[in-house]
Symmetry: C2
Subunit: 271 residues, 2 copies
């Protein structure tokens, strides 16, 4: 498996890295097709925002160049980028100066069952709830134990994704994806001001739907509202959109706005 | 700096480690004096509890042997143990079977100003609040971005520690320590059922104080209650006890129960 650490081929990194010690860093998962990283500008914009919020120094142009060069070598697959605060001494205080670290890893494109995109997926209702931490909300940071616990809740391949709510019971996202619902022609997605990951496909779909003239709303969504939705789908930057056909005892059919946005996502990803 | 990975001298580990990817693991910080890890049984008990709660397979006897052998080589210093879920594939699902990984690192004993133990410390009132996540509360896990953010709030060496409250405003702990207060001869420490790290020195002091006949209470503590306390101190497994002499505009003098427990902690640690 191809991997780089700080621009050099390497499969190992220092045990002193603060990404290991504290999860002190960010990551991104990029689809690569024809040697090009997908949704690159949105990925870089989100990385930059995360670096600002964590006060994590990071040379964005260097990251861009490395992503492009690495992706060209991959051809196709999944590119994972990790940016950490680099090596630390003992203790939480950031080293001065900080030498942040870049880690790139290649993996094959996953082969999802075609039924997921065509007929939709079943969501597993996760008992694990997301804690509310506005300082970290929206970021794709390396503190992911909640997702690890949630993903461990189901083994059956009947469930392609799990639904995560916050500790107050609001609907937030999937374990690997963002969630949208359609209600009275409006496209709604949970506000991510307290928890959750603001995915790049989510951002792209919000922009694309608005450009189509669809009313787009980011706000708190209750579980009851989700169950009452006309259409539900999940999205991420690798597969685009999967309609949701069931959650617990509730079923949805795949609706027209879901199909329209799915076609747009497929175009973007070259699926 | 001496370090081991899975029982072998090594300063590097795989970029695929889930400790890096997700903070999927636990850690412990042990003082080592005369070649012996301190509070070893309590450290191992907490590790075992954490492994159970994260469903992290870990050979406790192997960890014990490694800690003893490593500490003997160190002589004195700080021993950091990290246990991760080992290498992962892409995605949050745990690899089957899981090969968990042990990382040991040595560092010198820190040289704290003697005034901290003698006259007490000033607490910095951190704005960063701890999120409430009962599934992870009490564990010394690797998801520590909240502590990183909190520690970045102050630079002045006037503050040896910072006070962390939860998102509801309850007093929880220090960034590096647990917190106790004395009120009407009772010893109180915050309940850690929603957030916080249940330190081994905290557990030891709760047991020692109870053995002295002191009434010991773990419960929710408000900021106002803390300010009204007769005595306040912080503790951890490296320095034992530091009295707290001030927080924001409030001052405390060092009280008799603090001094009594401090002497016990010093004995335990051989300070």
């Amino acid at each position: 498996m191809l991997s780089w650490v700080d621009g050099q081929p390497a499969e190992l990194l220092s045990v002193k890295d603060r990404g290991l010690a504290y999860g002190d860093g960010l990551f991104a998962t990029l689809g690569v097709r024809n040697g090009r990283p997908q949704l690159l500008e949105r990925q870089l914009a989100r990385l930059q925002l995360g670096c600002q919020r964590l006060a994590l120094p990071c040379d964005q142009e260097l990251v861009r160049r490395e992503l492009l060069t690495f992706a060209a070598q991959m051809g196709s697959g999944v590119l994972k980028l990790i940016v950490t605060r680099g090596d630390g001494q003992r203790g939480y205080a950031a080293p001065q100066p900080t030498q942040s670290r870049r880690i790139l890893q290649a993996a094959p494109l996953p082969s999802y069952p075609s039924i997921n995109a065509e007929q939709g997926v079943q969501l597993f209702p996760c008992i694990t709830r997301l804690a509310e931490q506005p300082l970290l909300a929206g970021l794709k940071h390396l503190n992911r134990l909640e997702q690890v616990l949630a993903r461990a809740e189901w083994q059956s391949s009947d469930y392609a994704e799990g639904l995560l709510c916050d500790v107050s019971g609001r609907v937030i996202e999937g374990v690997y994806s963002n969630l949208f619902m359609v209600q009275r022609q409006q496209l709604l997605t949970p506000a991510l001001s307290r928890c959750g990951v603001a995915g790049v496909m989510r951002a792209e779909l919000l922009a694309q739907a608005a450009a189509l003239g669809v009313v787009v709303v980011e706000r708190d969504i209750s579980y009851a509202e989700l169950l009452a939705a006309d259409e539900v789908f999940v999205c991420n930057s690798l597969y685009g959109i999967w309609p949701v056909r069931s959650l617990a005892a509730h079923d949805w059919s795949v609706g027209p706005l879901t199909r329209k946005l799915q076609a747009i996502a497929d175009d973007l990803l070259g699926c």
